[in-house]
Amino acid sequence: MIVGQQKPLEEIWEMVKDRKRLLVLGCNTCVAICHEGGNKEAGIIASLLRMKAQKEGVSIKITEGGIERQCEEEFFAPAQTDIDEADAVLSTACGIGVQFIAAFWKDKPVFPALNTTFLGGVEQIGVFSERCQACGSCVLGRTGGICPISRCAKRVLNGPCGGSVDGRCEINKEIPCAWQLIVDRLKELGQMDRYEELSPLQDWSKDRAGGPRTLKREDL
């Protein structure tokens, strides 16, 4: 899923303070799981902004709303009335949701309430961590199911680098070294002989480097 994190309230305020009727619009899928941008969090951000507006003596009508998904037009209908009444939208979706809302309601400014942070999963309650950078040519089959591109600070494909100590990455003792994890996993799988296979140059043309990516399914 996509993980996001709310921007500081001050930063949000600076973006929206000159609006007259602001709708805070939640997205109840990925960013609801990390409790940062779901419909419930949209309501909380709206309340905080109302308090802020009152404190600053600024008159804005701030309402709240939410839909299941902001990255697909099919889900937009329930938000139509709310958006028609607003002069701007503060979206608590990931960057994708923000852009789809902006593309659909062409006359409304749309602002992001979150910083979209990574593609990850729920490691334990309240802890979310990155697992993939959508590189477009997955190497997990060679690396014991652990992604060196998203989990190694230098995305080395033939790791570890010389900075791996006690299973931790050189950049931060809180972060496990991806290559320690890979070696441990290959050992568990009885595949240590695979460690010496040289990983060839990665094809980054399928990654961000190749430009915006699209997937077309003729069958749909």
Binding site: P160, G162, S164, E170, I171, L201
Partner: protein, 326 residues
């Protein structure tokens, strides 16, 4: 003396190693500014005491004068440089292009590295590139040299002629892949290896045992890295703050128990003792003396370690054929 091997390039380092001598290398960090005279001064200090000098590439991610220009300057000052290149800051186009630039000045040695993470340096909010890693850089330089081809497959007019090296850290984790990792670097193309600085001799010996068990010491030249402590503070700092460096507590204690004014001397003594022990280890082909911001001590270390004078390749009879006569 080791068995002689046949050199493949006109690198001075390769010739010295191939002849069976113990090689001595050191390093020179370019300045944080454009004053090239600093390099000439450091170079003059080292000249004659070492065979080649490594030129570091924005080490610890602090922005400095580039290693390519610094290598050219040192070469012009009469030293033979080892161009260090990290994959952190350049993509495959830039790396190949810089290698050709270096080759156009007949820089004959390259050390292929990944580089420290940028968060250690002065551009913490910068992007890192890591288009390829150090193993892939080794393969790339080998292809450029041996096949005369760019990564893209096109022919290179006048391919680079470089002796190709890599770093090895016997002290990083996981320990069990430290020997396989060396094997992997050799398979990727590493003809010489400079190790991380050695303080934990037991661990280094265990690693070398594993290296010999697989015969890897005969497939590459291993230069053992040493760095003298200048102060007890430095020993402590290296023990606890530098990732991948293993300083045993007894060495830190030995430095701390020495009065302040004698610590520098003690650091040199420890370094000389280390070199003596390393000389006894089969498969160690030389020393990489990294005297960090203390280059002036390198001549003394080389002399007191019995590594002076350096072999004179210009002397008649010692020079392998094929050197220009003009």
């Amino acid at each position: 003396m080791r068995e002689k091997r046949t050199p493949r390039t006109s690198s001075r380092l390769e010739k010295i190693l191939a002849e069976g001598h113990l090689a001595v290398t050191s390093e020179c960090g370019p300045p944080r500014g454009s004053d090239g005279a600093v390099l000439e001064k450091k170079g003059a200090m080292l000249k004659g005491y070492i065979d080649v000098v490594n030129v570091t590439d924005n080490q610890t991610s602090m922005t400095r004068l580039c290693s390519l220009a610094a290598s050219i300057r040192l070469k012009q000052a009469g030293l033979e440089p080892v161009l260090q290149m990290v994959t952190r800051d350049r993509n495959r186009i830039a790396l190949q292009s810089d290698i050709l630039g270096a080759a156009s000045f007949d820089i004959n040695n390259i050390l292929c590295l990944t580089g420290d993470h940028q968060s250690f340096g002065d551009c913490k909010t910068g992007q890192n590139v890591h288009d390829i890693d150090s193993m892939q850089l080794l393969q790339m330089v080998r292809q450029m040299r041996d096949e005369g081809l760019f990564i893209g497959g096109d022919a290179i007019s006048r391919p680079p002629e470089m002796f190709i090296g890599a770093a090895a850290n016997p002290f990083a984790d996981p320990f069990e892949i430290r020997v396989p990792r060396l094997a992997k670097k050799i398979a990727a193309g590493a003809e010489f290896i400079q190790t991380q600085c050695i303080y934990n001799m037991e661990k280094f010996e265990a690693w070398m045992q594993g290296v010999r068990d697989r015969g890897l010491h005969e497939e590459t030249y291993i230069l053992a890295g040493v760095t003298p402590f200048k102060t007890a503070g430095m020993a402590k700092y290296m023990r606890s703050r530098v990732p991948g460096i293993d300083v045993p507590d007894e060495l830190v204690k030995r430095m701390s128990d020495t009065p302040k004014e004698k610590q520098a001397e003690e650091g040199i003594t420890i370094c000389l003792e280390t070199i003596e022990r390393l000389k006894e280890i089969e498969g160690v082909c030389g020393f990489h003396i990294m005297a960090i911001e203390w280059e002036e001590k390198v001549p003394e270390i080389v002399q007191r370690a019995g590594l002076y004078p350096r072999p004179d390749l210009e002397a008649p009879g010692q020079e392998p054929a094929k050197v220009a006569t003009s």
